[in-house]
């Protein structure tokens, strides 16, 4: 190659002189996307982006092989990396992801957890039955299971009338109920996230958490059942509890999944298996938080306005049926979107 006399002799400089305009343009486009999003680009820039990116990439390969200017290679590496993540690494828009979550991601994630969900459900039931029997047998053990702050007067020493009052037309807590329901939601949602995260410790803390949840359930029911209010208490619980307890069971199942995936990765490598499982289980956990929001609404509104046992059962059970249909109804398989 015969370079003209006034061309610089260093390869990097000649190379730079030829391509610098393109790099600068790519840099400008990437800067704009990083600052204001892809919407800030003109149509022309949008069409040029992949072309400029590829030419910068090939410039990087050439520069690595022919140029000794380290700053040039470093610049091209940084530019190509930024452009790469704007082209290949950007998640689909938030609203598309949200739509996908409700249409496919969530039910699929829950379906994939069916074994763990069954285990989590059985654990809750066994713990609840055990606590129920224990407290019926020896009411003083109630205090060992449930802290005072949570019992709120609903303990074995309370009279049947006082207990009945907590189930129906509870005037004394009416004004604080909305705040209480919100506090309960945030508390429960935090528990759901914990149940998922603690799964990392080989699921042992999650097992304890789910079992404790079942114990509390059984102990409360036992207190009411002792005063002949068992059916009424169950109705009071059903209206929002089917959603709430189902959500806790599911987040526990997500935790189990993580724990077992890390403990027993099977033929896959632990790191690879941990994240394929982790990503899907976290979707189920996020779904559990959505369910808890709904449970909070049901509790805040439904408990006050619906005072008849039968209606409470009807609402609670139909909501439960709705969840079961939504999660487990067989549906057309789309191409897996992880």
């Amino acid at each position: 190659m015969n370079a003209p006399a006034d061309m610089p002799l260093v390869n990097a400089s000649r190379f730079r002189a030829t391509h610098e305009m393109d790099w600068k343009r790519l840099e400008g486009i990437v800067n704009r996307i990083e600052r204001r999003g892809i919407g800030a680009l003109t149509e022309g820039d949008l069409l040029m982006l992949p072309l400029l990116y590829r030419s910068a990439l090939s410039a990087l390969s050439v520069a690595r092989e022919t140029s000794l200017d380290r700053a040039l290679v470093a610049y091209l590496e940084a530019l190509c990396t930024r452009a790469y993540f704007q082209i290949y690494g950007v998640p689909t828009s938030f609203w598309t992801q949200l739509k996908d979550f409700f249409a496919r991601g969530w039910p699929q994630a829950v379906q994939a957890l069916w074994r763990e969900t069954l285990a989590s459900f059985l654990l809750t039931v066994i713990a609840a039955v055990a606590a129920f029997l224990i407290v019926r047998h020896d009411p003083s053990l109630f205090y060992a299971i449930i802290p005072d702050s949570l019992a709120n007067g609903r303990d074995p020493s309370a009279s049947a009338q006082a207990l009945r009052d907590t189930l129906y037309n509870s005037k004394h807590q009416e004004d604080g109920l909305a705040v209480f329901a919100t506090a309960l939601f945030t508390h429960n949602a935090q528990i759901a996230i914990f149940a998922f995260a603690l799964g990392f410790a080989f699921a042992i803390p999650t097992v304890l958490l789910i079992a404790y949840n079942g114990l509390m359930l059984g102990a409360f029911l036992a207190v009411f059942a002792a005063k002949g209010l068992g059916v009424e208490a169950a109705g009071w619980l059903t209206i929002h509890g089917t959603t709430e307890i189902f959500a806790i069971i599911l987040s526990g199942a997500a935790g189990f999944r993580i724990g077992t995936a890390i403990a027993f990765p099977g033929r896959a490598a632990r790191t690879d298996f941990a994240f394929t499982v982790g990503r899907q289980a976290s979707v189920a956990m996020a779904g559990a938080v959505v369910m808890l929001i709904l449970a909070g609404l049901l509790e805040g509104i439904g408990r006050q306005t619906v005072q008849v046992d039968l209606e409470r059962y009807a609402i609670g059970l139909s909501v439960l049926t709705g969840w079961l249909l939504y999660f487990y109804l067989p549906r057309k398989r789309h191409v897996a979107v992880s």
Binding site: V10, R16, K24, L57, Y75, T186, F194, R279, S282
Partner: protein, 295 residues
């Protein structure tokens, strides 16, 4: 990281550079975020969250005085929940892939396989913060508020935190537990400006110094790039020292213009080494054989 590596898989290198091949077949050589930068980014985020929390709480407390307490209380509770759980998730799920703290430090969360970052991955990596940071914190807070700080429990909480806190230092990819479960890692995507081209002739009127082959055979690529750095940083005392060393080694007279001498030497050496590279004779450092004709 014994339990987490595939059998037979080579160990990742000790530096923070990781090979990452794009679909076009070019290795981008990603640079991972250092543990220091990650910690600084987290501190910045925690600080911002705390400031927002305090400001909102003060505002709510002020407004409650004027009635409407219930609605505000509910809003505060929900706001606190969203701040605690949503800050990291919502920022990282947006196109930037970084919280304000990470943005300030030029970091970005990306999927380890180079695919788009999914919501599931972001939620998984940030849910783990609950057991890394918030659990021991709230645990200690609860203990302190009940004035029953049990030494054993404090030690337990601290060691629990330490395990998770220093987890990134125990593996070469600087993965948090959350990164492990989410399949992500944090890379540096700082902007780098294209510096001035010291290889180009900015003025043609100044006569260029000429060097003999023997003078140029003294150094290789490593020395050339060190010289490049010296010229780019441009500290006069460094330039004087380097110029003196080169002159002594090449047995050249001092002509009083250190910068000009080094720039010319850099160009001449660069041209020679590049030419050698074209012919398949790369000279990595001064100990390697010369790129010129052998013999």
């Amino acid at each position: 990281m014994w339990p987490f590596r595939k059998r037979g898989e080579p160990k990742p290198p000790r530096t923070l550079r990781r090979s990452f091949v794009t679909p076009e077949g070019v290795d981008l050589q990603l640079e991972l975020g250092s543990a220091g930068a990650r910690a600084a980014a987290f501190m910045l985020d925690a600080f911002l969250m705390l400031v927002i929390l305090i400001l909102v709480t003060i505002a709510v407390a002020y407004l409650i005085e004027g009635g409407k307490s219930q609605v505000l209380e509910i809003l505060w509770l929900i706001g606190f929940f969203v701040l605690r759980n949503g800050w990291f998730v919502l920022f990282e799920i947006s196109g930037r892939g970084a919280t304000p703290g990470k943005m300030a430090l030029g970091l970005r969360v990306v999927a380890r396989d180079g695919a788009p970052l999914t919501g599931g991955a972001v939620i998984a990596r940030n849910a783990m913060r609950e057991i890394e940071i918030f659990l021991p914190l709230s645990f200690l807070g609860y203990q302190a508020s009940h004035q029953a700080v049990d030494a054993f429990l404090v030690i337990f909480a601290l060691s629990w935190t330490c395990i998770f806190l220093f987890f990134p230092l125990m593996n070469r990819d600087r993965l948090r537990i959350g990164d492990l479960v989410g399949g992500t890692w944090v890379v540096r995507t700082a902007r780098t400006a294209l510096g001035v081209d010291i290889g180009a002739d900015e003025t043609m009127e100044r006569p260029r110094r000429r060097f003999t082959d023997a003078t140029l055979d003294l150094y290789g690529v490593y020395e050339l790039q060190t010289l490049e750095e010296v010229l780019r940083v441009g500290r006069p005392e460094a330039i004087a020292t380097v110029a003196e060393a080169v002159r002594r080694k090449a047995e050249l007279p001092d002509d009083g213009d250190d910068l000009g001498f080094l720039t010319d030497y850099y160009r001449a050496l660069c041209v020679r080494l590049e030419r050698g590279m074209m012919l398949g004779r790369r000279r990595d450092n001064k100990f390697a054989p010369s790129v010129g004709r052998r013999g």
